[in-house]
């Protein structure tokens, strides 16, 4: 089994960025490694800043582990609208099940 899976980030303007995301790392770190713009991640992954907000496309979003209370609390403070598939990318761990997922980056983080 490969230790990375393909993930597509779709930017607010529609541009698509393909990234090989390492299994076991967060989606935020995958975005950072792939120089994906629009994911600010000021706190570096501590679930304190709410600036790495993304929308995970279905059916992948429904298959993710549930939102933990800290992430849930912070999702109330994102600048872009919270939707049912909103996640903080620092709290989503890349697994083989995410292979081929589309992750939409909102137009604002701050």
């Amino acid at each position: 089994m490969s230790d990375a899976v393909p993930v597509t980030f779709v930017l607010a303007d529609g541009e698509r960025r393909e990234v090989e995301a390492k299994i076991g790392e967060s989606v935020m770190l995958a975005a950072r490694a792939g120089d994906v713009p629009g994911i600010v991640a000021t706190c570096g992954g501590a679930a304190m800043c709410a600036t790495c907000h993304v929308y995970v496309a279905e059916p992948y979003a429904a298959g993710l582990p549930a939102v933990e209370p800290d992430e849930d609390g912070l999702l109330g403070f994102t600048m872009a609208e919270r939707k049912v598939n909103s996640r903080l990318s620092c709290q989503v761990v890349v697994t083989a099940a995410l292979s081929g997922v589309e992750i939409h980056v909102p137009d604002v983080q701050v």
């Binding site: 600010v40 000021t42 706190c43 570096g44 501590a46 304190m48 800043c49 709410a50 600036t51 800290d70 609390g73 912070l74 109330g76 403070f77 600048m79 604002v108 983080q109 701050v110």
Partner: protein, 399 residues
């Protein structure tokens, strides 16, 4: 592209004290990393490079056992990296997350703010630092810690002793002694409430620490509380007067903000304040090994300063960077730093200052105005490292 030695800034300390933003601009024009002998550090001048400096924990560390901060506070979260930093910091975080700040603390902040404004509202004039900013920050932090019986005066004295100790590069024995007294009194105040909070948890920071996994020692709790008291009073106090100054100096923008009076417009005004005059000017790092950074060679063990306040005026990033513009395009700034040492009190500041203290002042004091013009440099301002007004006279209409 080879690495080279950093350019040298031939600028005196007195110039930095007199007009830090002019010096930051000069350093920026000299290069991305500039050796600044007056503060004995390499200065990182660009916004993106400061973020990299804070992010790259392989190359840079906050641990500097020779710094006065370590003598003043012991090895606190300010001077630790990695897992032990993470553990101690995480113990406070439950009380400082935005949902808790808004749900549990905002009503307390609003009550405190109104009570303090009540003490001077009928007077028609006030000195904002003494009458309002330092009082409100002291009361809010005392309540958040869980120190119900501690006075604002005691909080302020502790805070000043700690800040003095952390900046005591001259190693004045009396300054460290005052800091030691403050830390002992803080430990006593924690011991007084810790048992109660162990049995009956609440939303306070001490409660979060006594409930945290892996049992923090009283020393660790005392160090955390000292960091919070040191950073949690000066900086919100400065942010309050800086924001009031920014708005009162720009009547057109003030009118728009007051007309709108929404959570969003106050948020923008506060974030612009933190960008315009960051209360904490620099972030300190040391190289863990020799290597290249931003195009220059750095030896092992050299000291750096990321110019947070300077990077917030980076002209390549912000248009009219020196101006206070509430409605500028939203961009992240470094007013709270970034990375694993991102300001622990960021949400507290956003709510207690940005949504409550400053809006309430303007709502309650009609026709609030500067009593006299304020210069952007000079004696009214504190030192360059902790930038803010030490004195701001304001006047308003009383019926």
């Amino acid at each position: 592209m080879g690495t080279k030695a950093a350019p040298v800034a031939d600028i005196g300390l007195e110039e930095l004290m007199a007009d830090p933003f002019a010096v930051y601009k000069e350093l920026h024009s000299l290069g991305r990393v500039v050796w600044f002998p007056a503060i004995d550090r390499y200065c990182v001048t660009r916004h993106d490079d400061v973020i990299e400096l804070e992010k790259n924990t392989e190359q840079f560390s906050v641990a500097d056992l020779t710094s006065p901060t370590v003598r003043a506070l012991g090895e606190s979260i300010l001077s630790k990296d990695g897992d032990s930093h993470r553990r101690e910091r995480a113990s406070c975080e439950p009380a400082l997350r935005p949902k808790v700040v808004v749900d549990d603390w905002a009503p307390v902040f609003q009550r405190n703010t109104d009570a303090i404004i009540d003490t001077f509202a009928a007077r028609g004039s006030a000195e904002l630092d003494q009458d309002f900013g330092s009082k409100i920050a002291s009361r809010n932090i005392a309540d958040m810690l869980g120190f119900r019986g501690v006075s604002e005066e005691a909080m302020l004295r502790w805070s000043r002793a700690i800040v003095g100790g952390c900046g005591n590069y001259a190693r004045d024995g009396e300054v460290f002694a005052a800091c030691d007294v403050a830390r002992r009194e803080i430990d006593e105040a924690i011991a007084e409430v810790a048992d109660d909070l162990r049995r009956t948890p609440d939303a306070s920071i001490i409660s979060a620490m006594v409930q945290a996994e892996g049992d923090l020692s009283i020393e660790e709790m005392g160090r955390n509380a000292s960091v919070i008291i040191g950073g949690g009073i000066n900086e919100p106090n400065h942010a309050i007067s800086t924001e009031v100054l920014g708005l009162l100096s720009n009547p057109g923008q003030l009118a728009e903000v007051l007309e709108d009076d929404s959570e969003q417009v106050w948020k923008r005004a506060f974030e612009e304040t933190m960008r315009w005059i960051a209360p904490l000017g620099i972030t300190l790092r040391k190289t863990l090994h020799a290597g290249e950074f931003a195009g220059v060679h750095l030896d092992e063990g050299v000291n750096l300063a990321g110019l947070l306040a300077g990077a917030n005026r980076d002209g390549e990033r912000y248009e009219d960077a020196d101006k206070f513009i509430v409605n500028r395009p939203a961009k992240p700034h470094l007013g709270f730093g970034s990375g694993s040492h991102l300001c622990l009190g960021m949400w507290v500041a956003r709510v207690s200052v940005g949504q409550i203290a400053v809006p309430t002042l303007f709502r309650r004091l009609p026709n609030l105005r500067l009593t006299e013009p304020v210069s952007m440099v000079g004696d009214a301002w504190t030192n360059w490292m902790f930038r803010g007004l030490s004195h701001l006279e304001v006047t308003w209409d009383v019926a």
